[in-house]
Point group: C2
Chain length 622, copies 2
């Protein structure tokens, strides 16, 4: 059967396949935090024509059902159908990568290291061809030439040796030998000069970002981004770990993300006319679970107390082992992790932020699908994971969505009528609310007296915007269109839990090192989220500490930036190891006092208003 | 269709399959130097019943055809048939391995090294289980425990890491870690004490010998031998190299010999109740071509001037890579080779002979499918390959066969009637003539005046034993039975070429070092052949130098003996490397003077009778 989409696309659906699955197989991803299990109620589509069978409409309002809106994952075509996909249901890539910033990274690289030094080395060798008087074996001849060039002990794999005899003869004993920095021979190739390339990859829980880099000058030849297809199996790290322990689940997850990488890379190489075998080193940066899944390692111990990863520091393995479609022997460097919930992405972030080089005490916050914090300077580094959860990316929020077109990103509330004025990304019809929109909305609702310090709606306000929905009290942000958009008390609770976790994390981390907030001279906000964040509002709800605005720096996706640095520099890889080693990991869930701090932070902005003097002053003035 | 064999066995033949192929697929190998191509005429069978189609009977005598004898490789069953396989056509394993000699090897091992030290190490580790206060990753925990035991840098493969988390937890953090001598982690296993085993393998061109050895005391638990199934593709090294360069041929050869090993090992392990994973190291000893084929390396450069192997010294690779059916990560040590035609079998032989430890100058001769010589002592070693060819193993000889039941191994000739008296192995009906039989026959025929110094038959002798056959003059050794057995002038020529090559090799090698035969104090004769060799007769035909009999020692299969030593001893592996490095390889084909020496040796015993005083005296007396 065929599913026609109102934009003109046609997708084939097999018998017994629901709309969600059929679309997914054709590369059209719908929002589905639950992975298409009929639970989250987000994969709404409107059936414009044709007969369907719907198993459950549990998450839909009666009005929606009347308008032929249904959940794609519980609805099965019974003949050819025509559907419309509302904006809020589409999984779209919204974040733009600030490529201009790589210029700064290149300057930084040049300042620390004379030349670019990827994890793969190339040496040109000319061997004396063998003769009856000089009958040394091929490998001995090669070893001899290497030792004459001062390259000592080299390791030779069976694969390498198996190809050696033919290669040496085809290349007439003059060739380039590539080897890894720990002296494993990789390949011999023609002596002609060709550009060579590496790839830096950020494996985010939600997105995968890939840079294709030319070694000769460090230029980013191209870059690409896609959703991490592991999303099919759940939005967050924990859901995926659970999936990994189910039959075949680990391989599902591994191949999903590796296919994403190959899918980004393949058209890129074609476009630039680059051969696969000229892409010969890789750096991977991701959180600990992502790194484990990429390498196909069972991550279940990460989830179970005492939360132990198989490895934090990964040996250099080969691209072929991972399934990357480049030179199979290419070394893959994995940015080292610190612990189960502070991964290589954070180490890469600290590296890219350069906070580890300066004497000033800085705070690094990466608020993505999880939330990680680092505090420290050139002498010490302390880190913690806050388990903020993915609510700022739209998960667990009734009408939450990522910061893409149609997302409400700012909210003003009239102090008298309590009517909202919405700012929507792309000036589109609102389709949902993104992280910064939530922070804005809560800050406004609080400041305008619509909700109290505990995030509960005030009673008896004269407005029909506050009403009681399926999940209890809610504020109607947007009426009509394909659907109404509300912010529920449960949503607000979720955001408050997340912001409390982040704030408590910062507090405890500083307490552990016996420092006050005052001594923090810089706060780095990393992650795609940072680009849209209104500092004032984030302080208002008590997510960020109440500090002068000029101390905050948005530094974007530092995981890919750090991976880029490691791809091109020996020194940077060593620094990454040093950073990982130096970082003290504080497990907040066992930290005495964390629960107290967390409970105290479960208010707007905080139970202790003296910590938020700016907010207190504003509040008094209003 | 079915092929019934007179001994009761029944074999299925597919349509279009000749008898040779059908038998081969059922594991019944016939003698066929040509690999079943209708050329060598050795795979004779007698058709007792049923209709067959025969494509060629070129190598058969009319009488044989009349008796329904046919070549299995050119004959196709057209219905169910009954056949008889003559003794001489069966490929049978004849050589017995002198297991008693291993006691000497063990004593030798104990004299050089305190304990047995295989290439795999085992260390017992108890890790502190992780806790919230001690959340190091599994691999870091392992590394830490290792460094506490003084084991430094260890390499971890992706495979090893992938299994680590589960293994550590299943074993409750107490386990044995196995690693190779160059510090590659192999496997973790239960801490319980179990016996562990290694295998030593001699890959001969003709036979494969395998010892299963218990590390704890060096005892040979079991041993086995089989024909090298590469024989299907040709009797000698050169034919196999040619086959390797044909499409898929390399993989044919590789898998043939690895399957042989697995076929020997598998029932052995079952019989002794040993698990595959408890067999965790391997030593391979073979000539250079055999080593290359075992590892699946294209050997073609070995055959083409200037005769260059891909490697002489093989890195330690894994049993799984080779396809051996034991612990896949088990390290495989390949006894190092010296050059294209002096391989690890000779290095192992020198090691086992201990000639490299003594000041006396010794000569080591391995007369197998090829012929290799080493001369030297504890200070220097010089080696050469003689290209003797496989005639002493029956190849290239009209009625040649290996020294198994039915082989003529000794011949007396009556000086008056020229009638022969034959000694046959197993006192069976003669089926052919083996190496020692040929030497005996030629020596007798020469001494009794039936052939002259050039190996040509005397004319006008009063005997019908000398006649003219298909290939010219021949001597009828045995009449009747299933077939007549003759020794042709061509056969004699072949043996003389082989013995001349060996003798010339010894002469040139000694000349190269400026020494006379007199200074040689010991001659080691290695190889299965040695067991049946009559020294006097070998001197008589000029194959061995004319020296006192007490200087000769038969030392059996020293390739497997050396492999056994290397399996159990660190020191022995180092010595093998030293021996290989120390050996100077003389390429006889380019040695000035070799051709002269060879031509001079193409007489019985030699053109220069002063070199063979014993023979001269005997000859004069007679």
């Amino acid at each position: 059967m065929q599913i026609r989409i109102s934009n003109g696309k046609v997708v084939e659906a097999n018998a017994g396949q629901n709309i969600y699955q059929a679309l997914k197989e054709s590369g059209i991803y719908l929002v589905a935090s639950c992975g298409g299990k009929g639970v989250c109620g987000k994969c709404r589509v409107k059936v414009l024509g044709g007969r369907v069978r719907t198993e459950s409409t549990g998450k839909l309002m009666k009005k929606e059902v009347d308008e032929h809106i249904t959940l794609a994952c519980t609805t099965f075509p019974e003949e050819d159908i025509l559907i419309e996909i509302p904006e809020g249901s589409k999984l779209v890539i919204g974040d733009k990568i600030a490529i201009s910033k790589t210029k700064n990274l290149r300057d930084f690289l040049h300042s620390v290291e004379a030349g670019l030094q990827p994890a793969i080395r190339r040496i040109y060798l000319e061997l004396t061809p063998p003769s009856l008087d000089d009958p040394a074996s091929d490998l001995e001849r090669l070893k001899h030439a290497l030792s004459e060039k001062g390259v000592g002990q080299m390791h030779f794999s069976h694969d390498f040796a198996a190809r050696l005899a033919r290669s040496l003869r085809e290349l007439h004993w003059q060739f380039n030998l590539d080897y890894t920095e720990d002296f494993y021979a990789v390949a011999v190739s023609s002596a002609e000069q060709v550009d060579r390339y590496g790839i830096a990859i950020d494996i985010g829980t939600t997105t995968v970002v890939l840079y294709l880099v030319n070694y000769s000058d460090g230029a980013i030849v191209d870059l690409g981004m896609t959703y991490n297809s592991q999303m099919r199996y759940g939005d967050d790290v924990i859901t995926r770990i659970v999936h990994a322990t189910e039959g075949g689940g680990l391989e599902d997850l591994r191949s999903a993300v590796v296919n994403d990488m190959n899918d980004i890379l393949s058209p890129m190489l074609e476009k630039h006319g680059i051969r696969r075998e000229d892409v010969d080193s890789v750096v991977i940066s991701g959180n600990t679970t992502m790194a484990h899944l990429f390498w196909g390692f069972d991550p279940s111990s990460i989830r179970e107390e005492p939360y132990i990863p198989t490895l934090n520091t990964f040996p250099i393995w080969q691209a072929g082992t991972a399934g990357l479609d480049i030179l199979p022997q290419a070394p893959v460097y994995t940015v080292p992790c610190v612990g189960s919930y502070v991964g290589g992405d954070i180490v890469a972030g600290v590296l890219a932020s350069q906070m580890y080089l300066k004497p000033e005490i800085a705070l690094f916050m990466d608020i993505g699908t999880n939330g990680e914090i680092v505090v420290g300077n050139n002498e010490w580094l302390m880190t913690a994971a806050c388990s903020a959860g993915p609510c700022f990316e739209g998960s667990g929020i009734r009408h939450g969505m990522r910061a893409t077109e149609g997302a409400i990103e700012s909210v003003k509330v009239d102090p008298n009528t309590f009517e909202p004025t919405l700012g929507v990304i792309g000036n589109a019809v609102p389709a949902g609310i993104c992280g910064s929109g939530m922070i804005d909305a809560i800050s406004e609702l609080f400041f305008k007296g619509v909700i109290d310090q505990r995030g509960k709606f005030m009673k008896d306000l004269k407005t029909d915007r506050i009403r009681t929905g399926d999940e209890g009290p809610e504020y109607l942000l947007h009426r009509g269109g394909l659907k109404e958009i509300v912010l529920t008390e449960v949503d607000i609770e979720n955001v408050m839990r997340a912001k409390a976790a982040i704030y408590a994390g910062v507090s405890i981390l500083l307490k552990e090192v016996g420092l006050d907030l005052d001594v923090v001279e810089r706060i780095y906000i990393a992650g795609g989220f940072g680009n849209y964040l209104d500092i004032d509002k984030a302080i208002m709800i008590g997510m960020l500490p109440d500090m002068p605005k000029e101390k905050f720096s948005f530094i974007g996706n530092t995981s890919i930036a750090g991976a880029y640095l490691c791809l091109l520099s020996d020194r940077m890889r060593k620094e990454a190891e040093e950073i990982a080693k130096k970082m003290t990991y504080a497990e907040l869930s066992v930290s005495r006092g964390f629960m107290d701090e967390y409970m105290s932070a479960l208010f707007l902005p905080h139970t202790d208003m003296s910590l938020f003097p700016t907010v207190r002053d504003l509040y008094r003035k209003s």
